[in-house]
Symmetry: D2
């Protein structure tokens, strides 16, 4: 993939979770929408590792990370009680948007479960687009002046 403006260095953050019974369906595997929830878990842990507590960003800075787009490729199903490793990185970031990418693998045998992305727009609590406060630029890998 060519390097484009807004592309950032990949810092990959790993987080782990265990598949809940509630997350399975009658096919005997994890219901596909739940991977989007796990992406959220990965994203929040990415922020925490970068020194941002997303909860405080919402509460104190009144900046919300709304989802504008999401995509998922399902490679192999996760099973009940599997431990899943969620790898998260920022693929692109501007003061108005950020794109996270994800890879999920089974902890036990390393098989690749899902790859995907979410694209976010920074918004006010009234859900109007806004700019990310510059104090957060570094954490999201934004290097320009926005």
């Amino acid at each position: 993939m060519a390097h484009r403006p807004g592309d950032v260095e990949r810092r990959i953050v790993e987080t782990r979770l265990r598949v809940r019974y509630a997350e399975t369906d009658q096919m005997g595997v994890v219901y596909h929408a739940n991977y989007l929830v796990w992406m959220e878990v990965g994203r929040v842990e990415y922020c925490r590792a970068a020194g941002i507590r997303y909860r405080e960003m919402e509460r104190q800075d009144k900046v919300l990370l709304t989802v504008a787009e999401a995509g998922c490729r399902y490679h192999a199903p996760a099973l009940y009680d599997d431990e899943v490793v969620v790898r998260t990185w920022v693929a692109q970031a501007h003061p108005r948007m950020v794109r996270f990418e994800y890879e999920m693998v089974a902890a036990e045998d390393g098989r690749r479960l899902v790859t995907g992305f979410t694209k976010h727009v920074f918004c006010t609590p009234a859900l109007k687009p806004t700019k990310l406060p510059s104090k957060y630029f570094q954490e999201f890998g934004i290097t320009g002046n926005g």
Copy 2:
């Protein structure tokens, strides 16, 4: 059951829903927590039938129906794509609380799936207990002066 103060006339409101794949688990039946969600569906339709749009009660009157207690008995499992009838009634109501009861049956064969209840406290948006505005008393079957 003895008649107690606060007991109300039973108006039973029926609503129907179809079981989603997402709501099943690997046992091949509906995951048990989802029945609480269906109780919410029944409750909202009960309110609508009584002339209350719960959304407006939250928005305009700033009264929220928080859940203080819930209970469920599972008689038979609901299956994927089953049509489920949710019967909802108010079992008890005061200006500060209301208790809904529920019975869910399969539309196809009438088999009883779940019976249960939820007990609610009226709260402010800051989640402090409050009194239900008297204009809603009749809809919840509150006859006294609170």
Copy 3:
């Protein structure tokens, strides 16, 4: 979009659902993963309108519709108690895969909420790829000989 082999005539099936409280999040809007669940609702109703009861296809023909890929664009948020119209159509179909596309709008004001797609692979109960039985070809708009 150019016409490609495997493209099918668009029959659009509409289904309606009402947003549940359970489906909202603390942003005050529907949590983004739930739109994938609504796509499933649309897909099942598409099948029903085409004369296929997906439940029976799983049970009797032992053919499962696994999800290989999914994508979503979020245009405007759905709100609690909104009535949502889910429009579903088959965009592409082969004996081994089918691609559904979706558009969701708010029933009240017609505002576009989400557009998206899911790509599916027909599988055995052991989740191995298989061919769709030819008796279903017409319903999925498959015209060739596979």
Copy 4:
């Protein structure tokens, strides 16, 4: 509470989880049905601590732990990103049923969130009641001869 036959010694198992955004609702707190899911998480970790991998019990011994009854009291709401401690113990057990009880508290300030129980019946994969294999008696605290 009086000691009854079938009562067991309380071994309390603690597990921790972090509240997901997906688990909140527009009240700004955790949606009440999710505590039942967390009870499941607690139950599975209870089993793991007792030397049972519930997944293997289902797969190898074909014994399923179906839910026959559940109850919840909501004391204080859990908030997004809170760390929650789930305490789980077996309150009663027979070869045909087991009753788990739970207490959930916020890790940060120890405030009590929810107390509750679930009552389970051991079943075959066809969901017919069965007896727990005796090799599991000790783990569930069953001392009699069933």
